[in-house]
């Protein structure tokens, strides 16, 4: 433990890695909460894969990868909506078709362009190689995401909980959906370096699901999800550094460990307390 702390003090790359993954952990938890409450976990997976062609093209044209990633991410979200609303194809199928094709296109582009993009690093993340510019991009995204969620908290709550009433109040459900998709894309892009495309969905849904088992208040859930995301990043990075393990995978495993604890021991929804309560009830009645 001391080694890790010393190393953090000593090495700038580790400070940047830690700081970046903490920011990513927080914003993933917050946006992930809305994603799971709206039953869109698969959409999170889809968007994360759909940014690949954008990243590849950005490198090829020498622009910030963030611009291309947002473009293809949002485009895929719109495409999924279009296909599922204008045909008999169900939403999950539309997601499956569009995200795999975007991902496949991305792989072809990466190999074709032989760009400086290292496919392996995009897919699996490499938090220890975070550059200052990446770190500031992540911080910028984090600020934008948190301010937007705070500003539109009421609207996000209502459109997630009761879309019918939201529409009766004159809220634009579709616009808010695409706003959330844009935020989701931003968060995904920010997460590329810490956990990589393949595992982003875990950072989105696992800390949020953990929080969901622990509270009945949305704002508490958002805070807890951010907290679990942050803790997963810190603890994961510690294990990654100490035992020389892949950083993204370690972070995800820590997040899963938190989830398992909540799943077992949450006071209201944990299976242990539930069975204890059931047993007490039976004992009372016999």
């Amino acid at each position: 433990m001391m080694d890790f702390l010393q190393a953090v003090q000593q090495y700038e790359f580790l400070q940047k890695a830690l700081f970046t993954s903490v920011v990513v952990g927080i914003i993933c938890g917050v946006i992930g909460s809305f994603i799971i409450l709206r039953g869109m976990s698969l959409m999170g997976d889809a968007i994360s894969h759909a940014v690949l062609p954008g990243v590849a093209l950005s490198y090829a044209f020498g622009i910030n990868f963030f611009i291309g990633a947002v473009a293809t991410g949002v485009l895929t979200a719109v495409g999924i909506g279009f296909v599922s609303q204008n045909s008999r194809i169900k939403n999950d199928t539309a997601i499956g078709i569009l995200f795999t094709s975007a991902f496949a296109l991305g792989i072809i582009l990466v190999t074709m362009l032989k760009s400086s993009t290292d496919l392996y690093h995009i897919l699996f993340g490499n938090v220890l190689a975070v550059r200052p510019s990446d770190m500031w991009t992540t911080v910028g995204i984090g600020v934008v995401v948190l301010i937007t969620v705070y500003a539109f908290y009421k609207e996000l709550l209502l459109t997630s909980f009761d879309p019918t009433i939201a529409a009766a109040y004159g809220l634009p459900n579709k616009l808010i959906h695409y706003l959330l998709m844009t935020l989701l894309t931003l968060v995904t892009v920010a997460s590329l370096q810490t956990v990589g495309i393949i595992l982003v969905v875990a950072m989105l849904i696992t800390p949020a699901a953990t929080a969901y088992l622990l509270t009945d208040r949305l704002w508490v859930m958002l805070c807890l999800a951010g907290l679990f995301g942050m803790m997963s990043s810190i603890v994961g990075l510690y294990f990654s550094f100490t035992y020389n393990l892949a950083s993204g995978a370690t972070i995800v495993m820590v997040a899963t460990a938190f989830f398992m604890l909540a799943f077992l021991f949450s006071r209201k929804h944990g299976i242990v307390w539930k069975s204890v309560r059931a047993r007490q009830k039976r004992a009372q009645l016999s």
Binding site: K154, L157, S160, F161, D162, T164, A168, Y169, T215, D216
Partner: protein, 247 residues
């Protein structure tokens, strides 16, 4: 005085099928109107079209002589209870506070004044002790009372309720009816989609009998007459018998 609702030549289709055909009527302020009709008669569709939740094929809707868009704040809607995620992390109190959103507008959050109002409305429906419960932990009747409280917080001039008494207990139904009657006495207008004819006579002043087209709109006795009813319910005999019992 302006009519609470004025509908002219309204046509609405639902999933490509004609659901409401050439309906025109107007509802006086301060009245309590039941919308009745057989299954698939377009009752819910009509309400949703009034609120702008479904696109109109043709026709116009005015609330208090104005465009519905301009009246949203003053119109409360209690939809059927089915379209909600009952495991959502929200308490009873926070659900009722949603009713303050239209008047708060963007970037503002409920404060003391709004919370006091929400609590008062919860008290009216008899659920103040449940304010910290998660919404899914309540019974069907209690949930419906919560949604009525949310509508009350809006301090509406017009209330539209879609099958509010389906699947709820007798006590909750009684509470809801009493509150609606109180609101009516305060001059509010109340429109209820309803399918239990046996109580229609006790609850409403006027009935609007719908079967895609408007079959009859008028005082309860005039609508609940055999000839009128058999026109709408030709294919639903059991329902017709209920109506006879009601008379």
């Amino acid at each position: 005085m302006e009519k609470a609702i004025t509908v002219k030549e309204l046509h609405v289709s639902y999933h490509g099928n004609e659901a409401v055909r050439d309906v025109s009527f107007s509802i006086e302020q301060g009245s309590m109107v039941g919308i009745i009709g057989p299954n698939g008669a377009g009752k819910s569709t009509l309400i949703k079209a009034l609120l702008g939740l479904l696109p109109k094929d043709k026709g116009s809707v005015r609330f208090f002589g104005k465009d519905p868009e301009d009246m949203r704040k003053k119109i409360a809607y209690v939809p059927q209870r089915s379209n909600i995620d009952w495991t959502f992390p929200i308490t009873v109190m926070d659900t009722v506070l949603i009713g303050t959103y239209p008047s708060l507008g963007l970037f503002k959050f409920p404060r003391k004044k709004e919370k006091a109002l929400a609590l008062e409305c919860l008290r009216k429906v008899g659920l103040e002790d449940y304010r910290d419960r998660q919404i899914g932990e309540l019974s069907g009747g209690q949930q419906q009372r919560v949604f009525l409280a949310r509508a009350l917080v809006q301090q509406p001039e017009l209330l539209l309720l879609d099958e509010p008494f389906v699947g709820i207990d007798v006590a909750s139904e009684e509470t809801i009816v009493n509150i609606l009657k109180e609101l009516q006495q305060d001059g509010k207008t109340i429109v209820v989609v309803h399918h239990d004819l046996s109580k229609a006579k006790d609850y409403f002043d006027q009935l609007l009998l719908l079967n895609k087209e408007l079959v009859k709109y008028g005082d309860v006795e005039a609508v609940l007459n055999q000839e009128v009813m058999s026109k709408a319910y030709a294919n639903q005999l059991r329902f017709l018998q209920e109506a006879e019992v009601a008379l």
